[in-house]
């Protein structure tokens, strides 16, 4: 049981990092970005191309990938600012679904079913915990995700720029009239989230399949974690991501292992029921 739980840190770390970014984007920009996994995966593919085409070492290739991730975020951020700044959450979220489909199409072209050696950010030895090797990258990612959540929350509450971002999320037009650079900040948040997603995907890539759609769909599991934080609390979302990863890992070898993919959906349903319990019960009364 302990071995399986620890094995879940690999995917849990990715879910946690993506969940933090989902909450950040929802809070700041009013969009549930379902394209986050696809954006990170596409940028991660750039590292592969850098290694294959230009013979870059893993370190520089990783840096290039993260820069590509940020640029993808900038491009999509500009698109959203240009056309969907005043659209509803539903419309913006729907647009991210379309973006996901488009990116998967491109990613499938790059990873065309063959095997690849992705640059490994943390290729060192695994850490032995309770007799099980845990990739050092996973431990770092889990810690980084929690730190990211804490850091972003502190940043938003304690800094002037954070206050501007919060103002922008509450009243974008008013914030704009008050001189806050709404468009620039929106694009910056997209770029930041995309870069983080790239790093998250790159940590898990060396020991995961190199089929593109599953990488893009990592966001679904992260969404379950984000909902655990009620799309507000990044720390709970990060911890939730780790817990979902561990829960999946425990379930996978069990008799119901074939339903492991259902874990985030069960979490989502339970959270939604809990979230809306007062409304439902009040109405019933």
């Amino acid at each position: 049981m302990v071995a399986e739980m620890l094995a879940g840190l690999v995917s849990g770390g990715v879910y946690a990092a993506l969940a933090v970014c989902i909450v950040l984007m929802y809070q700041m920009l009013g969009v549930v970005n379902l394209a986050l996994g696809a954006m990170g995966a596409l940028a991660a593919c750039m590292s592969l191309l850098c290694v294959r085409w230009f013979g870059l070492a893993p370190g520089p290739a990783t840096v290039v990938a993260v820069i590509c991730g940020a640029l993808i975020g900038v491009v999509l951020g500009l698109l959203m600012v240009r056309y969907f700044l005043e659209a509803s959450v539903e419309v913006r979220t729907t647009v991210t679904i379309a973006i996901t489909v488009g990116i998967i199409a491109v990613g499938d072209r790059i990873l065309n079913g063959a095997t690849y050696n992705f640059p490994n950010l943390f290729s060192g030895p695994s850490v032995e915990i309770f007799g099980t090797g845990v990739p050092i990258g996973s431990l770092i990612e889990v810690a980084a995700a929690v730190l990211l959540a804490v850091g972003v929350q502190v940043f938003l509450r304690r800094t002037h720029l954070g206050a501007q971002l919060r103002a922008m999320s509450e009243r974008p037009i008013t914030a704009g009239l008050l001189g806050i650079r709404v468009r620039t900040l929106t694009v910056a948040v997209w770029a930041f989230a995309s870069a983080i997603a790239t790093i998250a995907v790159m940590v898990v890539l060396p020991t995961s399949t190199t089929s593109f759609p599953p990488l893009a769909y990592l966001v679904i599991f992260a969404l379950g974690a984000a909902l655990l934080g009620l799309m507000r609390n990044m720390i709970v979302a990060a911890v939730g991501g780790v817990l979902i990863g561990m829960l999946q890992s425990i379930v996978q070898p069990s008799g119901i292992g074939r339903y492991t993919d259902a874990v985030p959906f069960v979490v989502i349903v339970l959270v939604m029921v809990w979230w809306r319990r007062s409304d439902v019960w009040s109405e019933a009364r």
């Binding site: 973006i99 199409a105 095997t115 050696n117 695994s126 399949t209």
Partner: protein, 431 residues
């Protein structure tokens, strides 16, 4: 209508159009990637006779992609067309991606058979086609030669797989495992395919009954969507159970992920995978991690039961394929081989029957296939034979290969020279 109203309507329309455009662009891109219906290899320069229209349904996108089947098939048809076609008839080839979904597989089959009036389906390799279109091909007199992935691909009158498939392949895997590798504890990590799980269980019981002592060595059998899940939990579990051999049923990218994850968690075990794991890129991707002993003293290597010959075989027919693939920039792997061998078997049968039947029609093609003499493809343990029977277990063997010094080599100890074959027939599903 006021100016403000006009502006509001204009703004709303603009936004709607933008959303629609974005969605359309994205969906178009997706459609391009999965090429729901695309023509390829339609070289018609040779011969002036009527073309033979051939289609293929393959799972190109999704968690278990078999996309390389398409260029493998195209490469062979292109070669034949460049040589003048079959008895002067050029081959027209179209294909589609069913995305592993039943609805798409059904739609494509009806499109090709009822609208395009193809003479046969060649190279079909899909997780949905056999099950979804059972009865449809037979009812319409359409012959199918392709890569079998589920029980119904091996038990339909008009469906002939060129590969051993996951069932004969699995028994071959077990035979080689217990007669040559002799592990102490085996962990099986199987594909979570509901159509296959009952038959896997049936086969395992049958094999255990035939081989006393084997049952105790199966420590764990798990079913996982390994294409969509991180493999680390499964290998961590295998380590916790003390398994020194892991059996997989998966495609090459996932197999590589499992081996890398095993290294990460410190699992010391031999890996053996079905033919779906055969890909020439695997040794280079794994590097020294693929060599025997890389995971520890219990690691006898990374083995694959290649259902069709390894591409470094010296057989001239295999080398013809390798050279053609190189010229056409086609990846050499299990899936592209399936496309090539399916096309080769189809062409061999039609060449035999060209003087007796109208090979441009579905009826003539089916007759040619049913009356063909076995065709030695050079790629399999058995000669390929469509025949008139209601099931087609033609290929009953696999070539066990393992990684050594950065390349696939034929493993020793196989029961038929360079192949491990199943003697006799497997029990029918549900029997």
């Amino acid at each position: 209508m006021s100016i403000l109203d006009r502006r509001r309507i204009s703004s709303t329309m603009r936004r709607s159009l933008t959303i629609a455009a974005a969605a359309a662009i994205a969906l178009s891109a997706a459609a391009c990637a999965s090429s729901s219906s695309s023509s390829g290899g339609t070289t018609t320069s040779s011969g002036s006779k009527a073309p033979i229209k051939v289609a293929q349904i393959t799972t190109i996108s999704g968690g278990y992609p078999f996309g390389a089947v398409v260029p493998g098939t195209q490469a062979y048809f292109k070669l034949i067309n460049s040589q003048g076609g079959i008895d002067g008839h050029p081959i027209q080839f179209i294909y589609g991606d069913d995305k592993g979904t039943a609805s798409q597989a059904a739609e494509l089959a009806r499109l090709y058979v009822l609208q395009d009036h193809v003479a046969a389906m060649v190279g079909n390799t899909s997780l949905a086609d056999c099950n979804t279109n059972k009865g449809f091909y037979t009812g319409n007199g359409i012959a199918v030669i392709g890569g079998g992935t589920e029980p119904l691909c091996f038990s339909q009158a008009n469906w002939d797989p060129v590969n051993a498939g996951p069932y004969y392949g699995k028994v071959v895997q077990w035979e080689y495992t217990f007669s040559v590798l002799k592990p102490n504890a085996v962990c099986e990590i199987e594909q979570n395919d509901p159509t296959s799980i009952p038959y896997y269980n049936q086969l395992r019981s049958w094999f255990e009954a035939q081989n006393p002592g084997v049952a105790a060595k199966f420590k764990e059998i798990t079913y996982t969507n390994d294409a969509t899940q991180n493999p680390t939990p499964a290998v961590a579990h295998a380590k916790a159970l003390g398994c020194d051999l892991v059996e997989l049923s998966t495609v090459a990218p996932n197999m590589v992920a499992f081996v890398k994850a095993a290294k990460a968690v410190g699992l010391d075990a031999t890996f053996i995978t079905l033919g779906s794991g055969y890909d020439t890129s695997v040794p280079a991707t794994l590097g020294s991690l693929g060599d025997p002993g890389a995971l520890g003293p219990s690691d006898k290597g990374v083995f694959v039961g290649a259902e069709l010959a390894a591409v470094n075989s010296t057989n001239p027919q295999v080398q013809l394929m390798v050279n053609t693939f190189k010229a056409d920039n086609v990846p050499a792997n299990f899936w592209s081989e399936i496309g090539w061998v399916s096309a080769a078997t189809f062409v061999a049968a039609l060449k035999q029957g060209a003087s007796k039947y109208d090979i441009t029609t579905a009826k003539g093609v089916l007759q040619a296939l049913q009356n063909m003499t076995p065709y030695s493809s050079g790629f399999a343990a058995n000669a390929m034979d469509f025949g008139p029977s209601t099931s087609h277990p033609g290929n009953r063997g696999s070539q066990m290969v393992l990684i050594q010094n950065g390349t696939w080599v034929v493993a020793s100890g196989q029961n038929a020279g360079d192949y491990e074959i199943v003697h006799g027939l497997l029990p029918a599903p549900g029997a």
